[in-house]
């Protein structure tokens, strides 16, 4: 068996480790445009903040990871074509590599909407890869004298703002949406985080977008004018699906999969940000570009590529993030009946529907949040637990004594 993986992010790591659970022998080839060993993409903001270094980032897996797993890496090489009839992938260099089982783990790319005058801005970068982070670090220089405009108040834009909080003279974040983190939070909790970030000196222009760029200036639709030295475009990401489409895989925004991570084309699997997931909290198909999901999909794909039989059917949106010392954990869907508790330091929202916990938002006190996550993931009937206790705080006491014996008295 000859395994080929396109991409070298977290999903690809899952594929390698998944294959090796079942098949310890057959060769694996990993092809990636990026010249680096695997790293956790969300770490780039932590690197700028000084909480990690490039060297540590590149230790997502030990240095001997590829060698120990019998993986041939082709880094800094880009795949230009996949031929599913001939079962080959072709590199830009013209080199042709055959496969028996292929996994497409091509991730996503920054989405840059057409914005008037954007091309005239020299000092700009997206914020997704290690190279983007390095470029941003270079653009900021050592003087703490640069005014930064970040377009996009989603997770990427705000983590970027946190990352450079001590490296920039000023930071302005704008977004078309009326609130920050529009895909992750509801209005009120978003305002809590926004106030906290504003206290650190970051300015927000919400409900607003850039009408026109000059090299060092953004003229906003509202009429506001923002002078900047460095521009970060963090509007969103789009799945990289071109190669999958070329191979004949069904694609609808992302690559379509069954619960074994198989595409519609035999012997081609896919995993990670390039795919469409089934969100079991909202009971809908959507793109879930989040790291734990990428790993789980990758591992599932790998096991199945190697002849195993593993399903992954527990995808939910979820995020753990902090902004300048204020922590936030969210998961699931917010459609249903909301239970909200708020005090000076923290905010909690639990959302239930049809006897199940569907989603939650925790800000400030996030301890033991995973107990909530597992209620969503396992579709636990709320009638089977003491929901009043769960509302109070995440705790195993809320489960029946039989269930507690199972949880704490057995190997898992």
């Amino acid at each position: 068996m000859n395994y080929v993986i396109i991409g070298n992010g977290t999903a690809a790591t899952g594929v390698i480790e998944g294959i090796r659970v079942v098949d310890h022998e057959s060769p694996i080839t990993v092809i990636s445009s990026e010249p680096y060993p695997v790293y956790g993409r969300p770490l780039i903001s932590y690197m700028l903040l000084g909480k990690t270094t490039e060297e540590k980032m590149l230790q997502y897996r030990p240095t001997d990871f590829y060698e120990k797993n019998g993986v041939t890496t082709m880094l800094g090489k880009t795949v230009s074509a996949v031929d599913s009839a001939a079962k080959t992938v072709t590199l830009e260099s013209g080199e042709v590599i055959p496969y028996d089982k292929l996994c497409i783990a091509t991730g996503s790319r920054p989405f840059v909407p057409p914005m008037d005058g954007l091309d005239s801005v020299e000092a700009q970068t997206p914020f997704m890869t290690l190279d983007h982070a390095k470029r941003l670090r270079e653009l900021l220089g050592e003087g703490k004298d640069k005014r930064v405009l970040i377009v996009g108040a989603g997770l990427i834009g705000l983590k970027c703002a946190e990352g450079i909080i001590n490296l920039a003279q000023s930071i302005t974040v704008c977004d078309l949406a009326p609130r920050i983190l529009p895909n992750v939070l509801e209005e009120h909790p978003a305002s809590i985080i926004q106030k906290h970030i504003e206290k650190q000196g970051v300015k927000f222009l919400l409900n607003d977008s850039v009408a026109h760029f000059e090299p060092n200036q953004a003229q906003m639709k509202s009429g506001a004018v923002v002078d900047f030295d460095v521009l970060v475009v963090a509007v969103g990401v789009r799945p990289n699906t071109d190669l999958a489409a070329m191979a004949g895989c069904e694609v609808n925004r992302g690559i379509l999969l069954n619960d074994h991570m198989q595409t519609s084309v035999p012997d081609i699997y896919a995993a990670g940000d390039c795919t469409v997931s089934h969100d079991i909290a909202a009971e809908t198909d959507r793109i879930l570009a989040i790291l734990p999901n990428a790993y789980m999909q990758g591992e599932t794909a790998g096991m199945n590529m190697a002849g195993g039989n593993r399903a992954f059917d527990k995808s939910i949106p979820m995020n753990a993030s902090g902004f300048m010392g204020l922590h936030m954990i969210t998961a699931g869907s917010y459609e249903g009946e909301a239970y909200i508790v708020e005090d000076e330091d923290s905010y909690k929202m639990l959302v239930t529907k049809d006897d199940r916990l569907r989603g939650f938002i925790l800000i400030g006190d996030v301890e033991r949040a995973g107990i909530y996550t597992s209620l969503i993931r396992e579709k636990t009937p709320l009638s089977s637990i003491d929901f009043d206790l769960i509302k109070e705080r995440p705790q195993l006491m809320a489960f029946s004594s039989t269930e507690r014996v199972h949880k704490l008295g057995r190997a898992h």
Binding site: L43, K51, A320, R368, I371, R377, L396, L408, H412
Partner: protein
């Protein structure tokens, strides 16, 4: 593999496991030096309500969601035990979001903390078990 198991019927709710844990991971030579005037932050924690109490610490799952979701590679499985490299941890708390038992916690140092079965401190085997006066916490194969 040997793991820490808890039998709530035998738990007295005395919290000694928490003190032994804090001592074991303090690097100090005596319990007095480790605990006197310190607010402890143990990796095993008692839940209690009415007459029920029990200790909760890392289950060292065979299929650990915390390790799979870790964004930095700080959480790893070594011979079946889930370890944390606090030097690599950036404190994103994705593991706290992921763990179904609520067994990882924040710490003042920024990195998360969790039970490592006392394999990385000088005691070598779980001190919570040794400190439990009623064998409500045991370390064995199951």
């Amino acid at each position: 593999m040997k793991r820490v198991y808890v039998n709530e019927k035998w738990c007295l709710g005395c919290h000694l496991c928490e003190y032994y844990c804090a001592f074991a991971n303090s690097g100090k030579s005596s319990m007095v030096k480790a605990l006197k005037d310190h607010k402890i932050a143990p990796r095993i924690k008692i839940e209690e309500r009415n007459n029920i109490s029990f200790a909760v610490s890392c289950r060292h799952c065979e299929d650990p969601l915390c390790v799979k979701g870790c964004i930095s590679g700080a959480l790893t499985v070594v011979d079946g035990a889930v370890h944390i490299d606090s030097n690599k941890c950036v404190g994103c708390y994705t593991c706290i979001l992921s763990c179904p038992y609520g067994a990882l916690s924040t710490s003042n140092e920024g990195a998360i903390q969790k039970c490592e079965l006392c394999q990385k401190n000088e005691h070598g085997k779980p001190m919570c078990v040794q400190g439990c006066p009623n064998k409500a916490i045991v370390y064995e194969e199951r």
